[in-house]
Amino acid sequence: MAEVTLDSVTKRYAEEIAVDDITLTVEDGQVLGVIGPSGCGKTTTLRTIAGFETPTDGRVLFDGEDVTDVPPENRNVGLVFQSYALFNNMTVLDNVAFGLKMQGVAKAERETRANELLELVGIEEHADKNPKQLSGGQQQRVGLARALAIEPRILLLDEPMTGLDAKLKDRLEREIGTLLEELEITALYVTHDQREAMIMCDRIAVMNDGHIEQVGSPEEIYEQPANEFVAEFVGTANVLEGTIHDGQIDLGFAQLGTDGLSVSDGDVTVVVRPEGITVGRGPIEATISDIYYAGETIQATALLPDGQELSIELDKSMGRLSENDTIELELDPTEIHVLSN
């Protein structure tokens, strides 16, 4: 376990800047989720920490020690890939024992420990199989056990669930989340699924175009997004423009108090999540322009008289609503987040 620090790290390729002056600390034992659109530099950041990329500028520190120029094999960093990257020429057990073998651990001992790890991830019965014979989820567990076997100072996971079946992913998310927590391991977890990041990570860094847009706990990211990009990227957001005067936010279709918000008069951008909108009663009249039954919830789009659209969530108990039905809405002032003012 260790604390990882990126100190003004920049990685420039011939044509473009993949990582642009990132400074970031992951505390000892913390799991940091890294999310962001494709190409924003997530993988490059991880590879820099692992030692496969030499930063163009800046330093990488483990527990305050500069490791920028330490070769990957001496960093003691565990890696888990989306592609599993298992060694298909070895059994599952040998995959897990590989790191220990490299450390010179005796055969008997390393097999015992590898077996323990397979038990930990719940696939001890497949120890003697070829990785190719396992399902995706099982292979990913092997990948995890293999990375954990060396008791890494830092564990780096690059979209380990992408490509897995939705059901399996759900289960693995919980299991791996629990495991990381129990092991108190320092980890960076890259995913493009914000829900996954929220479930599994202590803190989340939202990246965009080589920069970090925001770092914070899942709640902070979801409830107090730093900017429109974060708001839109994480969850469903209604980003609304309005003006403030006389302590009132005027959104056109609704007026809200600013109690508890430190704002000044002028233009304002606010974020309202669907959960912040009460449906069924309230001062705003709207028409349903789109409605989807999604199992747990019913999601809908409400068309306001001024032509704006709001994403809302319906309660199943409200009975069957369908397109073009008229509904009444109310924005909960306490659920509103001011982006810029």
């Binding site: 094999e73 020429n89 293999r146 060396i150």
Partner: protein, 309 residues
């Protein structure tokens, strides 16, 4: 036809006759597919039947003919000669060791080149690949000339060495020697082996290599434990294809006759030694069946994917 009454048996005919019948008069998509397969293979078989199968049968007959200029009578003389005359054993041995040696050499070079192409950021990579693969399109006699240009008496390298050592270029010329022939074979084989290997090296799972490094393996150990096992099937495929090609090279050895290999010997039997068509046919048949079984083993052994140029 009415599908409603079709039972499992009539929908999917089994047995060769039924299958042939359904391919000729297809009613279901499965039948139509079968017919398509037949149609797609037919042109090849027409060509092969006319151009190879019938001539091969005639060749088999030729090898037991008592006459040199027509197929008549029956004698095993040619086969007996092949088995008993030491010169033919020598030809077989020459053919094999030389093909093996040039194959191994070409694959080793191919491995280095493919590795460089896959791993290094080389300038003009596409041009490089085009240049390296170009000699595949050169016939053996032209390849032999390339060796003469480098190592013949007027050859560039011959004279370069002569210039620096003061020796006579005539003493240094190596084009028509086993060494020159070796390079001639390699000139043809290296591009082929490289093109086969390039696929294998391009598909190396770099994630797995990085995983190994992060687990503490040095670059050398990573190569041994992770990279080599991945490219191994590609290497075997390259060995198979290159070896076959090496056995079939003729033009080069005809121009640089430094070693009596099977192809050259066949030519000799027909041209200079009095049209020994029976012996030539017998060697040709052995050659055919050897390459046939070798290729078949290769097809079986390897994933189809790996067998491509």
């Amino acid at each position: 036809m009415s599908g409603s009454t079709a039972s499992a048996d009539t929908r999917n005919p089994s047995g060769v006759v039924a299958k042939a019948q359904s391919a000729a008069f297809p009613e279901t998509e499965a039948d139509r597919e079968r017919r398509r397969i037949v149609i797609m293979c037919l042109p090849y078989f027409a060509l092969a039947a006319v151009g190879a199968f019938v001539p091969l049968a005639i060749m088999a007959r030729m090898s037991v003919s008592t006459e040199r200029f027509e197929n008549a009578g029956f004698t095993m003389e040619a086969w007996r000669t092949l088995l008993t005359e030491p010169v033919y054993w020598e030809v077989a041995w020459n053919t094999l060791w030389f093909a093996v040696a040039t194959t191994v050499f070409s694959v080793v070079i191919g491995v280095a080149i493919s590795h460089a192409l896959a791993k290094y950021d080389l300038p003009f990579e596409n041009t490089l690949i085009a240049l390296i693969s170009f000699p595949i399109a050169l016939p053996g006699i032209v390849v032999a000339f390339m060796i003469i240009v480098l190592f013949g008496r007027t050859g560039l390298l011959t004279n370069l060495v002569a210039f620096f050592t003061g020796q006579s270029p005539i003493d240094l010329a190596m084009a028509v020697s086993v060494f020159g022939l070796f390079l001639g074979y390699s000139f043809s084989l290296i591009p082929r082996s490289t093109m086969v290997l390039r696929g294998a090296f391009a598909e190396i799972n770099e994630d797995a290599e990085e995983a190994a490094r992060s687990l503490g393996a040095s670059p050398l150990l990573t190569f041994y434990y992770v990279t080599l096992p991945q490219v191994w099937p590609g290497i075997v495929a390259a060995l198979v294809l290159t070896f076959r090609t090496a056995l079939a090279i003729f033009g080069t050895v005809l121009v640089l006759p430094a070693l009596n290999v099977a192809t050259l010997r066949i030519s000799l039997e027909i041209q200079s030694l009095g049209f020994n068509s029976q012996i030539a046919a017998a060697i040709g048949l052995i050659y055919f069946f050897f390459i046939l079984s070798f290729t078949f083993a290769g097809v079986k052994l390897l994933d189809n994917e790996a067998l491509k140029i």
